[in-house]
């Protein structure tokens, strides 16, 4: 098991390096110089060269990458051009809010997704099955930013039950675990849960149907085990894959939250990214993307190892 974990870490390291390289190059893809945004228009060529030297942009790209990576490894993601604060601080503040939102959304999606999936897989071709299939197609087809708007229209504009935007009263910048803040979490979390709900329902349905068709289930029934007992076996067999899908969905939601966070003005990483893009704050953009992508890489690793722990049969090569 430990050997396998080490092997996975060894395998993930080049991917992580590749991710850092992509994030680094992203800034150099931008039209013009990364400094264009901060440089006064009337700066002389000499002043520009001075600035470039100050930020290290005069060095060859591989050297710049080396220096940047070394700083990143020490937790230095550079300085935000817009706010002048360290990027690591800004991202650190936002990531907690995003994590709360993504985790609650995944939890809602997972609960209802597995419920739908189990019922559909057990009673295939029944009405419930058709309903579950419909829910899963709706979940993956709906533009979630629009779903968010529709929920705001219904529950905020029309019924006035829930706040339309923000993470808390008086525009508080971060989410707190209390009743008042909870009301702000409901709509964005519900909106976000639509995607994992559809995907998990689909996965679990296929899993349950497949497990039920296997010989060992027949054997269990033949030896006189009750439905409840059989059910426990099905859960035991479906759990590793279902949990793995849930883990990956958490990663997708965290990284893909920008549209929903924008609709709800939720002060998370997506909101930060949006601000960074429109203020052309490239260090902040780079840092946020790097943190989100790295989180996704690590999450993949954890899911993979946990899955093997739950079901030692699946050791990926």
């Amino acid at each position: 098991m430990i050997a396998y974990t080490l092997k996975r870490i060894l395998y993930v390291t080049p991917v992580a390096l590749g991710v850092s390289l992509v994030c680094f190059l992203l800034v150099h893809l931008a039209p013009g110089d990364p400094l264009t945004a901060v440089m006064p228009i009337d700066a002389t060529a000499e002043q520009q060269a001075e600035m470039r030297a100050l930020y290290g942009f005069d060095k060859p790209l591989p050297v710049q990458y080396g220096i940047w990576l070394w700083k990143v490894l020490q937790g230095d993601l550079g300085t935000s051009i817009a706010s002048g604060r360290p990027v690591a601080l800004e991202v650190g503040r936002a990531v907690g809010n995003s994590l709360i939102l993504a985790a609650v959304a995944t939890l809602i999606g997972f609960t209802f997704g597995t419920l739908f999936g189990f019922v559909a897989g057990y009673f295939r071709n029944s009405m419930v099955d058709k309903l579950a299939s419909a829910v899963s197609v709706l979940g993956v087809s709906v533009p979630h930013y629009w779903l968010g708007m529709v929920l705001v229209i219904i529950f905020s504009a029309h019924l006035g039950w829930l706040p339309p935007t923000g993470a808390g009263p008086d525009g508080s910048g971060s989410w707190q675990p209390d009743a008042e803040h909870l009301r702000y979490l409901i709509l964005p979390a519900l909106t976000m849960s639509a995607i994992p709900m559809g995907i998990i329902a689909r996965t679990v349905r296929a899993l349950v149907a497949e497990i039920l068709s296997q010989d060992f289930v027949q054997a269990l029934r033949a030896k006189g085990l009750g439905e409840w007992g059989v059910f426990k076996h099905v859960v035991r067999n479906a759990a590793p894959t279902a949990l793995a899908v849930m883990g990956l969905q958490l990663g997708y939601l965290l990284g893909g939250s920008i549209l929903i966070e924008t609709v709800f003005a939720w002060p998370g990483t997506g909101f930060l990214l949006n601000a960074a893009i429109f203020q052309r704050d490239l260090p902040l953009l780079q840092g946020t993307i790097l943190v989100l992508a790295m989180f996704f890489v690590v999450l993949n690793l954890v899911v993979d190892v946990l899955q093997t722990l739950l079901d030692p049969r699946i050791q990926r090569s």
């Binding site: 931008a30 629009w146 996965t203 990284g255 893009i277 953009l285």
Partner: protein, 294 residues
């Protein structure tokens, strides 16, 4: 969203004229897939024939008749925040929305298939290098990658298409590689290689016909994701620029109207939803129709 990436198990297809005919027959008997296709045909036709179908000029604004409700005389689906006819804008909006949703998948289909088939056919060390590079792109959630690229490149139709293509190429390449690897080890391919046929001929005659079908089905399942993402980019202000009619952008500019005209404000999103679900249902039908072997 990378939702489709969780179910990339490619299906096998054997290519012969009879096979495609039977796929067509099965599709015709699938009411859901046919219904979805009908909706798509209507949306596409309306977009293509917009200048003839649309009742009004989609750019003509009148400040006196802003945000009229659905059914207002002269405005069948109401008017937007600048008094422009919603129905006409929705019809015209399909042009850019469909274009920006479909083109990245087409481009990614060509590029991704080439990369994947090459890697799968050549195998060995080159395959490892190509596939590990592709793994790097899988480390980014699709939405994040698309938005990051668009954000850096700047707003615009071309830049959006480029970013979305970059997002889908690795996904299609991975499917193409796995199907090609399977086909490559078949006896008839081995035999063709042993007979001394050059690699290009083997790929053209024996591989392409067997792998393009499954890759195509996978690509069609990406169109819905691509539509949602493309409109999402415009929604964020990273895609189409005003005053062009495009569903994502319209949804964004109408956000301020959710209190005064909620139904009108929700219409552009409804169009994205309708198109995306139709593509999904049709793609599901196609998958089912192709999965069943003769």
């Amino acid at each position: 969203m990378a939702m489709a990436a969780t179910e990339t198990l490619p299906i096998e297809a054997s290519a012969s004229p009879g096979y495609w005919q039977s796929v067509g027959r099965r599709l015709l008997r699938d009411p859901v897939a046919m219904g979805a296709l009908a909706v798509l045909v209507i949306i596409v036709l309306a977009a293509v024939l917009a200048p003839w179908v649309a009742p009004a000029d989609p750019y003509k604004a009148t400040m006196v008749r802003r945000l009229r409700p659905i059914g207002y005389p002269g405005y069948p689906l109401g008017s937007d925040e600048l008094g422009r006819d919603m129905l006409s804008r929705l019809i015209y909006g399909g042009r850019l929305s469909l274009f920006m949703g479909v083109v990245p998948v087409l481009l990614a289909f060509v590029i991704g298939s080439s990369i994947g088939i090459f890697a799968g056919y050549v195998g060995g060390r080159i395959n490892t290098v190509v596939m590990r590079t592709i793994d790097v792109f899988f480390a980014f959630p699709s939405v994040l990658l698309a938005i990051a690229l668009s954000g850096v490149l700047g707003a615009g139709i071309i830049n959006s298409i480029v970013s979305l293509t970059v997002v889908f190429v690795p996904q299609i390449a991975r499917v193409a590689e796995s199907v090609t690897t399977q086909v490559r080890s078949r006896d008839y391919v081995e035999a063709a290689r042993a007979s001394g046929a050059n690699a290009l001929a083997v790929v053209r005659v024996h591989v392409l016909g067997n792998v393009l079908g499954p890759i195509f089905v996978y690509a069609t399942s990406l169109i819905s994701v691509s539509m949602i993402l493309a409109s999402g980019l415009s929604f964020l202000g990273l895609g189409v620029k005003p005053p062009e009619p495009e569903w994502g952008l319209m949804l964004n500019t109408l956000r301020t109207a959710i209190y005064s005209q909620p139904l009108v404000a929700a219409l552009p999103g409804l169009m994205i939803f309708l198109t995306s679900i139709s593509f999904n249902l049709f793609s599901d039908g196609l998958r089912t129709a192709m999965e069943v072997k003769q």
